[in-house]
């Protein structure tokens, strides 16, 4: 089989994963203007919660219906969103709105530091393994190559998540209200939109997407402390390449980065660790605000 096709398939799988992990970040930035460094920690919390929940599911006799573990994964992510989202947004972030994007970055950096240790306190420092869902669907032969079917589930999931986010934002009344808030926060408020609620719900949706990223990753890896540290920077890179706040941008950025990484793994393994940042640096050099960012008037 062609090397090109291999790179393409690997790249799409990795890109799909990247999209799920980073779409929440761009959504939260788009609505709240918050660049959330703690996104990686939320991802890790999602992974831990899933590891515990799926472990519990199989311990309680889930073997009779193993496919149910997928529902447990999504449920775990939803629990994380409902618990952590409102606490973070209402309890902390709202006190820093209007103090500038960079201050918010630092605040979420503080949250990141806190959550790293909170996870160690809750789940300890030993690794968790829940590989059952990963092996559940068997393998798919692709010419001479064998892929785990779960990888293609990730692609399907990414497409579903992307479509859902697009549909909710563009085709529902609630989504249009969110778009109005993105466009002009003050004007929407004067028109009677409950901006506070939009903020809480959007932030929690971002948390859900981060946790979902963790949930689908948990079966593929061993869940250990420090999981979120590298993910956060990768997600940043994807989101910045696409243009902050742009869902389409995040999708394009994810595929671009995914294929670039797959290409470097096969063609130039030395570059694997930094190819993402290289792509990001090159994109920012030519499009200083990312691929899909609208031009904004300079502040006077």
């Amino acid at each position: 089989m062609d090397l090109l096709a291999v790179i393409l398939v690997d790249g799409l799988i990795y890109g799909a994963w990247l999209f799920i992990v980073s779409v929440g970040l761009t959504l939260v930035f788009g609505v709240l203007n918050v660049l959330n460094i703690a996104h990686g920690s939320l991802y890790a919390i999602g992974a831990y919660t899933t590891a515990s929940a799926v472990g519990l599911y199989f311990a309680q006799g889930g073997d009779s219906f193993p496919l149910g573990s997928y529902a447990v994964m999504v449920l775990a992510a939803a629990v994380v969103a409902v618990v952590v989202g409102p606490i973070l947004e209402r309890g902390l972030l709202r006190y820093f709105y209007g103090r500038g994007e960079v201050v918010i970055v630092l605040v979420t950096y503080g949250v990141f530091l806190i959550l790293e240790d909170v996870m160690k306190l809750v789940w300890g420092v030993d690794p968790y393994f829940v590989s059952q869902p990963y092996a559940l669907l068997g393998n798919i032969e692709f010419g001479p190559l064998i892929y785990v079917a779960y990888d293609f589930l990730v692609i399907a999931m990414a497409i579903a998540v992307g479509l859902l986010v697009w549909f909710v934002l563009n085709r529902t009344r609630k989504g249009k209200i969110v778009l109005a808030v993105i466009h002009d926060r003050e004007m929407s408020e004067t028109m009677g939109v409950n901006v506070r609620r939009v903020f809480v719900v959007s932030f929690s949706a971002g948390v859900f997407l981060a946790a979902l990223g963790g949930a689908i990753t948990a079966p593929m890896i061993s869940v250990t402390p420090g999981l979120g540290v590298s993910v956060i920077i990768t997600a940043f890179a994807v989101v910045i390449i696409g243009g902050l706040g742009s869902i389409e941008g995040a999708a394009i950025g994810a595929v671009l980065v995914g294929i670039a990484r797959a290409a470097s793994v096969h063609l130039m393994p030395e570059a694997e660790l930094f190819i993402i940042y290289l792509v990001m640096a090159v994109v920012l050099l030519f499009r200083p605000e990312g691929l899909f960012q609208k031009i904004q008037a300079r502040k006077i």
């Binding site: 994007e101 630092l106 950096y109 806190i114 240790d117 920077i233 902050l244 930094f274 990001m280």
Partner: protein, 321 residues
Amino acid sequence: MSFLKSLPSRSLILFCILVGLGFAMPTWGVFLVTIAFAKGLVALGNVAMMRGGLVSFGQGLYYCTGAYVAGFMAIHLGFSDIFLLCLAGVFVSTIVGAILGPILSTYRGIFFAMLSLAVSMILYGALSKATALGSTDGLTLPGPTFLGFAPEGRALSLHLYIFTVTLVVAAGTLMRMLFDSERGLITLAIKDNELRVEYLGASVRATMSVNFVIAAALGGLGGVIAGLAIGHVDPEYAYWTTSGEFVFVAILAGHFSVGAIFIASVILELVRSFSSLYFPNTWQLALGLFLLLVILLLPDGLGSLMKRWSRATAAFTKKRI
């Protein structure tokens, strides 16, 4: 008494106090302060840019560059003189800064933060795969010599400490002069409104580029000293969490006082050593809470507190006269 108030004499007094403290402190304290001061130098560079509104999440790039240049020269070229290693480390990181500065300093806000972070992560990735430089294991550095003199044990720690204190006091004094100079004040004005600064005839780009290069040089210097004091360099020096620490120190200190930067750096190192000793799993939690409290209650950092005190005492003395 006005003699005591001038900047050079204050620096000289501070230098004497710090050297005296070095002789009084146990060896671990000397080591801790040396590391804290080395990192403080990097944070000082961060503050120089933050005065203009730019927060760099990538100062680890210069920190790492400086440390690796020193390591490479010590191991592969056989140089051990600390003055030479510092010069080389600062030289190379200044060159890197001079190449990146004019490009990066046109970016603002989070784009600047993320692009600087990306560049330092590129170095991290490249070093992790560079087998000639020890890949993820890094390099182990021999103890430095001071113009042919090769102390060992506590004497080495003390020499390194005094060397660091000298550099810190010198750099701090020079940066204080820079901050109070025309260029330093223009930097502050850029933070408020850069378009207005342009219209008033100053070059935003040139000013920020110079700040950028100065920060790079300070980063390299800090890296060389930290590398020599720890005796080991690895790619983690360029990882984003390392750069995050420098931002932490800069935020904690604020931009009002140069001294506050080094105090903040010592606080961070103290918190880190003690809590990793007694609460290994919660020290980041403490750090994070601390950061949030500082941002919430002291938005201009510890330095603003010191400024307030000195103003209060000045007002008090005036009243008495």
